[in-house]
Amino acid sequence: MSSDVILSIKDLKVNYGGIEAVKGISFDVRQGEIVTLIGANGAGKSSTLRAIAGIVKAASGSVEYAGDVITGKSPSAIVQRGITMAPEGRKIFPDLTVEENLKIGAYTRSDDLTADLAWVYELFPRLKERSWQAGGTLSGGEQQMLAVGRALMAKPKVMMLDEPSLGLAPLIVKNIFEIIKTINENGVTVLLVEQNANMALKVAHRAYVLETGRITKSGTGSELLADEAIKEAYLGKQK
């Protein structure tokens, strides 16, 4: 793992109608890492991702990607530079077929998609079986696979995943996280937002804990897994 920073967030603030959802956070994501932001509901995790993707405007602070400031750029410009997002709640296009959903993911590209389509189908054989089905007819787990596959189609350098485990059965969650690892091993940097701290910390190289809009802790995945306070707050201290 190289240590060059690909994504650097500096003092980022995000407001929603006067309410500060993110109150000035700074963190780095290095090339080839899986970094996770964990935290409870309303901690500002999703807002952070949306601000990086350009869907919400940052109130102040900056996002630097590969040395350039991308704050204030349009979402399409950001996708073109190689940052994609699988949004919270999957948000697949229910009336489009699975294949159309995947092609939409590559909307900003104009080159040949065959190889990437084949790769996504290799990662998610279920999607290949259902490539002509409407996205809305898939099960929750399959929809999440589709959302991840769709984000991959843009050939991202950084992929952001917003709560991929939301509302899924534990077995499927495990499956999805395995695939996230595989994707990362193929050279895609992953920024993962999760409430399921246990799973997230297990796959992540590094992690940040977000509480009411501020970063309260950071460390490697295994460090935080062993942290007593984290265990109590997010993992359910049983042992």
């Binding site: 869907i55 073109q80 997002m85 948000k91 296009f93 009336d95 489009l96 939409i104 900003t108 843009a154």
Partner: protein
């Protein structure tokens, strides 16, 4: 819709159906003798083709891009007026614009071309140019009002576009614009469908089908392109579409402008069909009629819109006319009187909305490839509705 593979048989059947339809229309104009049946059939066919085009254009916006816009009648009016204004012959200006000193625009494109190319070629090429102008005028207005209006969502967009159409209608009737729009008076004497002929070969019914056919084919191509996919993505989920890098505003604008262009083309054809044009009929009621057809046909189905348009026009102008006459098969029925047709029509609409809430076609399409497969499979059932395209 599901089989993306090019089925040559399907394409062949489609082409043959279209050719048969076009030959039939030409025969209808020239060879088949006029009787009480064709006198009813021909106008229904012409108007049905025009409404098909307008409804497909509305479906592009409402059904495929998910923008609930109610300005279609306004754009049709723009197109109709633009067509008429540029095709009124010079020597008729004094008569048409009698209250406005013969009007401002003192040339006619079909007439000018007729002087060069001969009468029939001039009329055909000239009217096609005027139809293009009609579309461009409607599209230009759409681009202008799209800038503020397309930032609105759902119901608010509908209200704003509806308001725009109504304001436009009022402005067109204002006497201050009289030298161009003839105020609240009729525009007439322009090149109508009956002037479309090659020598003695009349093309009055063929022409609207021809223009509508090309236009609908272009819309279908657009919907099946990557732009069309982006439109559908915006319809399904705006936030996700934005996250995929689709520029929401640009694509909404594109859909709005293209839809308005074809509404303008439809308006021009309607002006040709009616032989006179005035702003009054282009009320919100007309938009509701179009919306009704789109809903009955199936939101998100091109062939549905076409079938819906022909059915609606046929019911409205032909099949349900007997309800207004007071007699049915020779018997006089006390219920039947003027306006009763509208009552029955409303009941039919209610039944459709209650029991076929997705419309006749849902979001499916009639495909000639599917037809070909079915014929090869078992029964040689006809594609009666297929010529709607």
């Amino acid at each position: 819709m599901l089989t993306e593979k090019k089925d040559k048989t399907g394409l062949f059947i489609g082409a043959v159906c279209l050719a048969v339809l076009y030959v039939f229309l030409i025969l209808l104009d020239n060879v088949i003798p006029q009787n009480s049946f064709t006198l009813l059939l021909v106008p229904v066919l012409k108007k049905g083709a025009i409404y098909s085009l307008v409804c497909v254009s509305m479906n592009l916006l409402n059904g495929f891009t998910g923008l609930f816009s109610l300005g279609q009648a306004g754009f049709m009016m723009l197109g109709g007026y633009a067509y008429a204004i540029f095709s009124i012959p010079k020597d008729q200006h004094a008569a048409v614009y009698q209250y406005f000193d013969g009007g401002l625009i003192q040339f006619s494109i079909p007439e000018a071309l007729s002087n060069v190319l001969g009468e029939s070629a001039g009329a055909i090429i000239g009217s096609i140019i005027c139809i293009m102008i009609a579309g461009i005028v409607a599209a230009a207005f759409a681009a202008l009002i799209g800038i503020p209006v397309l930032r609105l969502k759902s119901d608010y967009l509908a209200i704003a576009t509806l308001g725009f159409a109504e304001i436009l209608r009022a402005i067109f009737q204002w006497s201050g614009l009289g030298p161009i729009t003839n105020g609240s008076n009729l525009l007439r004497k322009y090149t109508s469908l009956s002037a479309i002929k090659i020598g003695s070969l009349k093309l009055a019914t063929f022409f609207p089908f021809f223009i509508a056919g090309i236009s609908i084919a272009l819309i279908v191509l657009l919907i099946n392109s990557s732009y069309g996919r982006a439109f559908k993505a915006i319809r399904d989920d705006e936030i996700a579409a934005e996250a995929m890098g689709i520029n929401l505003f640009r694509h909404k604008m594109l859909s709005f402008v293209i839809s308005s262009f074809f509404a303008g083309v439809g308006g021009a054809l309607l002006a040709m069909f009616q032989t006179t044009i005035q702003a009054t009929p282009f009320k919100s009621a007309m938009t509701y009629e179009l919306l009704l057809i789109v809903v009955i046909g199936g939101i998100g189905s091109i062939s549905g819109s076409c079938i819906g348009a022909f059915l609606f026009i046929a019911c409205n102008e032909w099949w349900l006319r007997f309800l207004d006459n007071g007699s049915f098969m020779g018997m006089s029925v006390p219920f039947f009187r003027d306006g009763f047709r509208k009552v029955v029509f409303s009941v039919i609409i209610m039944v459709i909305v209650l029991f076929f809430s997705k419309g006749i076609m849902g979001d499916r399409e009639i495909s000639f490839a599917g037809l070909a497969r079915r014929i090869r499979g078992s029964k040689p059932s006809g594609g009666k509705e297929a010529p709607a395209k």
